[in-house]
């Protein structure tokens, strides 16, 4: 059931843009006042830019306070090209959008270096520079006096009047929304959400976080550019005062009020904040205070925007109704009960899937760390002797033991590139991994799970698995943006496989539930599945059994053993000694960053020093 998507679901995922298109058409047909149509067009051009802002904030957690500067750049470039150089609008709009994208790209290079917090303020600074930059190019832009635009837009021989411009803006908005919808619903969108919550989790999937971030910046810059190009020809003139800080705040407030996690949220926000004060109730002169108050209230009262607030209000209401009726817990709640199903699911199907995606992968390299030393400030987290090494051999399960704070997770991080070593080396076969990036190491065939799984709340296990699988086909981002047949095929294939994996792991019931509703054990299983669902030869698992029920532990152990028998190698950190010692071929014990000893499970259980370290001296 999880594999295929019903056609109805596909249509439903278009319902927002469709309804909006209908609304724009209705307004165009019913409203005849030119000033209202003009305000509507301006609002639409802002909505396009706000949609880009919402994408960046909701999907990637980026605060692009500089969005208005890109909007202005595109507007001015477009207007100067048409009215000074007499270009056609369409060509000029294209160049204007490119200009905005170039500025956005340059900003993204800054963003990669500095913190998000600094970047937000740098963006704010950039917006405050608009009047200065316009003045600097006074000859072209008209400076503070403004630039008059005589020409209207020529659309196949007809000059567009106010109503024509309104429809043009509407079409631009709908196309923008469709593109953003494609990205949001695509595996790329899921990967961006993973990055928002944890860059480490994203790089573990083999994707370079900077690539995802730059993709976000470029996409939202394009939208700012399109919005700006449309805006340039609406009012007949351009002036720096049209790009005052107030409008940055308008854009941001719109995104916060409408909600950044939903597709239509930002558009809804612009309608409320721009149209209502101008057309419905006139609060001219108070608009700054209104925006300020709304930003504040929105952030404090509805952190997810009104659309989300509405949804949670509805959920609360239906929950109250159900309580009053004394209904039984729903199927979802039953599935969440760990004791509800106690039968043992054989790992065969899961193992088959995991091996199928590893066809042709070289399983013969050992992963090895030698003489590892890692210091954080003055504290030595890892302090190996020069000759000490930990080797994960092909087809073996290597167990890492040690008390809390002994350096187990640091060792895992050193293997994966998250904690670059101060001294020592990491090798994989004959490759040197010592100073490679986490994403590069992941792509070389090493995958891992995390001590604290980081799964974005609003994504489902199916989406996460689909994204992890689809990402392996290394499709260009453009395919996801336009959602072409190739993207469809790749996604369908990935979904089918993800569905089989989820079912084989006993997650069918919750596969389509948001991760926020999963139990900690289920989250753990999803994270382990994500680590396994890559064409890797070595899998590093950080406490994979924590939070799992007895049955789930048994299944996990059986899966690891079967995959190891097929040639995969594992490095496992685990506190459940019964399970761990049963599946382990080799054991290394860490204490205070030192490698205490290593050997077979039998050696280790006999080792006096180990018993002291693990169970305490008295035992």
């Amino acid at each position: 059931m999880a594999g295929a998507r019903s056609p109805w679901a596909t249509i439903r995922s278009f319902q927002g843009p469709l309804l909006l298109a209908l609304a724009i058409l209705l307004v165009g047909l019913l409203v005849s006042r030119e000033d209202y149509l003009l305000q509507g067009s301006i609002a639409i051009s802002f909505a396009i830019a706000a949609t880009g802002l919402g994408l960046a904030l909701g999907l990637a957690g980026e605060y692009l306070l500089g969005q208005l500067a890109l909007f202005a750049a595109s507007a001015y470039v477009t207007a100067v090209l048409t009215s000074v150089h007499e270009w056609s609008f369409w060509l000029a709009a294209g160049v204007g959008t490119v200009a905005a994208t170039v500025v956005g790209l340059a900003m993204s290079l800054v963003a990669l270096r500095i913190s998000k917090f600094y970047f937000a303020l740098v963006g704010f600074f950039l917006v405050s520079l608009i009047p200065n930059i316009v003045q600097l190019f006074e000859k072209q832009t008209g400076g503070s006096a403004g630039l008059v635009i005589y020409d209207s837009i020529n659309f196949f021989g007809t000059e567009l009047e106010t109503k024509g411009l309104f429809y043009l803006a509407g079409v631009a908005l709908i196309i923008s929304l469709l593109l953003v919808r494609n990205v949001r619903n695509s595996p790329l969108g899921t990967q961006m959400r993973r990055m928002r919550d944890s860059t480490a989790a994203l790089s573990a999937s083999g994707m370079q976080p900077w690539r995802a971030r730059v993709a976000v910046y470029v996409l939202s810059s394009i939208l700012a550019g399109v919005g700006g190009a449309v805006f340039s020809h609406l009012g007949g003139f351009l002036q720096p005062t049209q790009f005052e800080l107030t409008f940055t705040i308008l854009l941001f407030a719109a995104v916060l009020v409408g909600g950044s996690t939903t597709l239509l949220g930002p558009t809804l926000g612009v309608i409320i904040l721009y149209i209502v004060p101008r057309v419905v109730i006139n609060v001219e002169g108070y608009s700054d205070m209104v925006y300020g108050g709304i930003v504040l209230l929105a952030v404090i009262l509805f952190p997810g925007g009104i659309e989300e607030a509405f949804q949670s209000a509805r959920a609360w209401f239906t929950g109250q109704l159900a309580k009053r009726r004394g209904e039984e817990p729903s199927a979802v709640e039953a599935a969440l009960d760990p004791d509800a199903v106690e039968e043992f699911v054989s790992p065969d199907r899961l193992v088959k899937e995991m091996l199928a995606m590893r066809e042709g992968v070289d399983l013969g390299s050992s992963l090895r760390i030698q003489g590892a030393r890692k210091r954080y400030g003055g504290v030595a987290a890892l302090d190996f002797e020069d000759g000490d090494s930990v080797t994960v051999a092909p087809g073996k399960v290597h167990l890492l033991l040690g008390p809390n704070g002994s350096g187990k997770t640091t060792l895992l991080n050193a293997f994966c590139g998250y904690a670059p070593l101060n001294e020592g080396s990491v090798t994989f076969g004959d490759r040197d991994l010592t100073s490679r990036s986490p994403a590069r190491i992941a792509r070389l065939g090493i995958s891992r799970s995390f001590q604290t799984p980081s799964l974005p709340d609003e994504t489902t296990p199916m989406e996460l698995l689909t994204a992890a699988l689809a990402y392996q086909e290394s499709l260009s981002y453009v395919h996801w943006l336009i959602s072409d047949p190739l993207a469809w095929r790749v996604r369908r294939r990935a979904r089918a496989r993800a569905g089989r994996i989820a079912a084989a792991a006993g997650l069918e019931e919750v596969a389509e539930q948001p991760c926020s509703q999963l139990t900690s054990g289920q989250r753990r299983i999803v994270d382990v599945l994500l680590a396994l669902s890559r064409p890797s030869s070595v899998v590093l698992l950080d406490e994979p059994a924590a939070g799992l029920s007895g049955r789930e532990r048994k299944q996990l152990g059986a899966t690891i053993e079967a995959l190891a028998a097929a040639g995969l190698s594992f490095l496992v950190v685990e506190h459940d000694l019964e399970l761990a010692l049963q599946i382990a071929d080799e054991v290394s014990v860490l204490a205070e960053g030192h490698l205490l000893t290593h050997g077979t499970p039998e050696d280790i259980t006999q080792h006096r020093g180990v018993r002291e370290v693990l169970i305490g001296a008295e035992a």
Partner: protein, 293 residues
Amino acid sequence: MTTFLTSLVTGLGVGSVYALVAVGYAFIFRTTASFNFAQGQLLALGSLFAYTLYMAVGLPVVVSLIISVAIVGVLGGVVERVAIWPLARRGEDTLTWLISTLGVAILFAGAAQRIWGSKPLAVDNYIGPKVMHLGSVNIATPYVVTFVVVIAVAVAIELFQRYTLWGRAMRAVGDNRSAVELAGINVLVLGIGAFVVGGALAGLAGFVLAPVTYAQADAGFTFVIMSFAAVAIGGFSSHWGAVIGGWLIGVVQSLSGTYVSLNSQQLIVFGMLILILMIRPQGLLTQRVGREV
């Protein structure tokens, strides 16, 4: 030569204003890891209260100063209560605080415009001549006063953070919140305290500055941006860094205004900020690395 020196000294004077607001930022950041967007607006309010109390009502300077700084300090505390506390309690990250304080800033700006109008209001000089002569260089007296005040404030903060229990707690709370809580210090009070002090510093800057810039309701955002640049260049948690950053920006701004053009001033400051942040993302005077603010 005189042109250069005048430009340099004026730059130091303007930079001292940025520095004073920036010291407030550093103080707040050190304690609560947040950036108060309304800080610039509080400066504007300091000027506006100077106008109302000193010019309109006619109170003596010292009385006007004390009342203005006290009111603006309290408003700083209000910002914390309204824009930070409800979010911090819910565990929202500091980026959200940025937006909520921005909301308060706009609200204050709008309210100030309603009350005082948007025209610049003249405030007479408080002490001494309007302009001081240092050799061949002329400089507006309030700039000299601000220069002295900012050094005094930075020294006072240094002493406070070094030698008093609350000062040490304020320094420690930025590094390890729970340790300070365990030591029996009320972290909530520390948070408001930092915002009150930060607000008072902005109010002080606005009050002192009023005779030069006039009191204007929407003057705030320029100061927010320049003081952010100052504190980012200096390193967010160091008050000396904020002072040096403020001076550097003031001087660069003033010199580029004199020798390039008035229009490119802000652009050059922006370029310098980006350059410094690209080379030293943590700021000039901060050692701490690898930790996102």
